[in-house]
């Protein structure tokens, strides 16, 4: 299991938004990096941008979970399947709480925040002044910080949920 934990930190999962213009790279448990097509970024409205981000995050969650489980299977030899809450009431409670878990991450300067419920719906807020500057690198950096903070919040709250015995 230790070998899995260490090797997982080197696994990258790359996801692209439905319109092909925003890319997210997750590496292991911590790295969260957004890159955006420069020409599209300058054409997009704020609404288009956040809509594509929200869809990108949903896709990324699915792909990251699949990659995590497959990597675990490969390294440990275990077979991992999606959690089946119907097996007992405890598990169902866990699944219900997990699916309603609210997490949030905010960039260091407070200009970008990402909030999610159950990691299925994402609300991305970008400060209008930051967006007005059309500084792609600044937006990407703020998204990276907010995304990293959100992932950390998700780990912390999921661990609390496990520790609480649901």
């Amino acid at each position: 299991m230790q070998r899995f934990r260490e090797s997982w930190q080197d696994v990258s999962v790359q996801t692209t938004s439905p319109n092909g213009c925003i890319h997210l790279t997750n590496r292991g448990d911590r790295e969260f990096r957004i890159t955006c097509d420069d020409s599209w970024f300058h054409r997009a409205t704020l609404g288009d941008f956040t809509t594509q981000l929200g869809r990108l995050f949903k896709l990324a969650l699915v792909e990251r979970t699949q990659a995590y489980n497959r990597h675990k299977e490969m390294v440990t030899g275990l077979q991992i399947t999606p959690i089946d809450g119907s097996r007992n009431p405890h598990l169902q409670t866990f699944v219900d709480k997990r699916d309603n878990l609210a997490v949030e991450g905010v960039s260091a300067d407070g200009t970008v925040s990402i909030a999610s419920v159950g990691l299925t719906h994402f609300v991305i807020t970008i400060d209008s002044q930051l967006w007005a500057r059309r500084d792609r690198l600044a937006v990407q950096r703020a998204l990276d910080e907010a995304g990293t903070a959100m992932v950390a919040d998700q780990f912390r709250k999921m661990y609390e949920l496990k520790q609480a015995g649901h």
Binding site: D29, I80, R87, L91, K162, H166
Partner: protein
Amino acid sequence: MVTPADLMDLQGRLMDRYNSGSWGSGFPDDPSQFGSCFNNFADVPDPSQFGQHTDALLETMTLLAPTGFDTGTSDGSGNPVTGNANTALDQVSTAGIELDDWTGQAADGFFQWSQSWKTGISNQFAAAAVLRQLLHAEAAVWTAALEDLEKLGNDAYAALEAADDEFDTGAGEISTTLKVVGAVVAVAAAVPTGGASLSILAAVGAGVTVASTGMDVYAAGQTESKKFATCCPRDVLADLMDGVRRVEDAVRDAEDAIRAQLDTNLAEIDGNWDEFCQPPPTLTSVHRNHIAAYSGLGTWGGGS
């Protein structure tokens, strides 16, 4: 090959892992079960110990074999276990013919006995083959059971690790398959009488491919899936004990099937005892006083 001692060691490691975990709540009602979950299997047979018994029965079969035979089992290297006919058996059948000058009641009795003797030996061969196959089935059951239990223990350990991991979100369950549920093997039908001994080998071979020495191969097709939650020790222990109970039930079912087959075969042998152990030839029951030498035998004193 997994031994009962391995399971005792594994449950000790499970208990240690639970004790070293950082659990908020979600404690099992009785966490000590992590350290005692396999106690019911502490004294079960070690599958490797069946080898000496099946080897001894193979030796018996070789002595009783009317023709060459294939046991339908394989050795530790996967090679078929076969045996040659014991040609010495033929000499008994023909001995009565060769005693041309022997006449009388004892001679007739011996001749008749020698003609049917080989049939009885063939039936004994069949009985030995059935017994050997039942031992194989027994070994197969315990091999599969102990392997399943080890797998359950290792998966429970991994599930505890995940539950205690702050970066594992518990979104995936660990799935495994239990083999022992398919261990109710098709072991021997009743032993045939009338010297059809070789036909039994095809019947008893069905469903069992345990190597006669290693006994590490089991090829039952039926399996059952088992899942382990990874979100808290209470659910991990519940899944572990559920798996252990399923193994216990499967072993019980398999033992019932083996015992039923053994009973069937014992009844067949009891009901046809003379077909397996013929009455001795008349000669052996003649009273000592009825056996005498010719009166003139050994009396010649030489020429005068």
